[in-house]
Symmetry: C2
Subunit: 270 residues, 2 copies
Amino acid sequence: MNFMTKLRKAWASSNSLLCVGLDPDPSKFPGMLRDKPRAILDFNKAIIDATHDLVCAYKPQIAYFASQAAEDQLLETIDYLRSQYPHIPIILDAKRGDIGSTADQYAAEAFARYQADAVTVNPYLGSDSITPFTRYAEKGVVILCRTSNAGAQDLQDLQIDGKPLFLHLASKVTKEWNGNQNCLLVVGATWPEQMRQVRDVVGEMPLLVPGIGAQGGDVQALVKAGKTTEGTGLIISSSRAVLYADSGKHFAQAARQVAKATQDEINLYR
Amino acid sequence: MNFMTKLRKAWASSNSLLCVGLDPDPSKFPGMLRDKPRAILDFNKAIIDATHDLVCAYKPQIAYFASQAAEDQLLETIDYLRSQYPHIPIILDAKRGDIGSTADQYAAEAFARYQADAVTVNPYLGSDSITPFTRYAEKGVVILCRTSNAGAQDLQDLQIDGKPLFLHLASKVTKEWNGNQNCLLVVGATWPEQMRQVRDVVGEMPLLVPGIGAQGGDVQALVKAGKTTEGTGLIISSSRAVLYADSGKHFAQAARQVAKATQDEINLYR
């Protein structure tokens, strides 16, 4: 199924804008899991089983797998999601970006090897670095716009003709790069005013919003700034606050409680 | 050994500014290699053995390994280089970029898992996405500035106070991000005028220069624009033109001939 359709159905069926980010860090796992040979996969499965009815998407972050030489466990995590919860979109967080011939290889990594429904990409190299992803018309391409970190200001806020770079980009994506209607943008939860500006430029385009939970984004402010007229349009991602809610044997139930509370808080303001 | 020291020694001992990019694409391999179980590793070893005395660096491009699920062959290629040619710097071309906690994982991927001497990174997320790499003071951090592709103009040339974004970045890296003296910049060979502007801003900072060969960069123009007063300062990378000079059984000798001709052409203008 087309990513955008899958996302809209998942928003509706889960009544949730929450996305759980899968950033598996074995040093934070409960002791009984940490030293098992497939600890990352076991951890992810437990988190997924405990939260699947509360989310509109999962977002595995590939860096956490790559640093552990655990590509096989990323693949198995995705296989598990696709077999057990095939209605939930999978966004591979990889932030790839390169010239066209290399971007082709990265698109193959995300869509052929890992079978992700969507992937995050970095726009610094421009349109011909994005086309190798957007030409997969049934997949979602989530382009960094205004990120959640403090350093976002270094480049993304530079003023061009009185308008910050990230708004130029939002406009360019909307008007020029979105021919297949499969683009989304990343806007950090930590910047509600910037999110409002992006929403004004992009119409109903979905936004991926990291930065609640451990990074401190204000849920009320971001939902009011970023939601569409239908009360959707946002994929609000929390990773560490959910995954590591508790470090004991009840970690999965604790993750569910945090996910449920976050889903409810988001729904208060839709 | 510190990356910058290793690079300077390699420039001197090889009398070369040429870097060979390892972009292994099995569909372009000679027939006798293509279907072997370790074709990528065998291909890389043959190229390396045929060119090692002509280069100042090798640059494996991780996307070509990731799309083939060949991380093990990337690791073995690097192990081979480190054991056989320990004096040649290895630049992992990965163009990573993410918020700090995730960038820590990407830095571990490049420097702990793969033991690269340097890695390419994307600056769009700003300073706190770069620090997790630069804090490895003995490693090189190669930051995208003005890339070789046509789409480079979309963001990198936007004018800020009458100066393009890529020059703002070059200045920021030189003055603010280079505390450990381990930053380099990527400037595409296809843009000699932009390279001259970058050289004027960054002093003696080394530049990684992709885009000769298949991408068509003019060697004379780029060497004159980018070299330092010592006649070095450039790591000029060619991938496809060297790797796929011939598709028959003498592919490695053909690669050597192209590499030698490119080394000589570069040296004409130093």
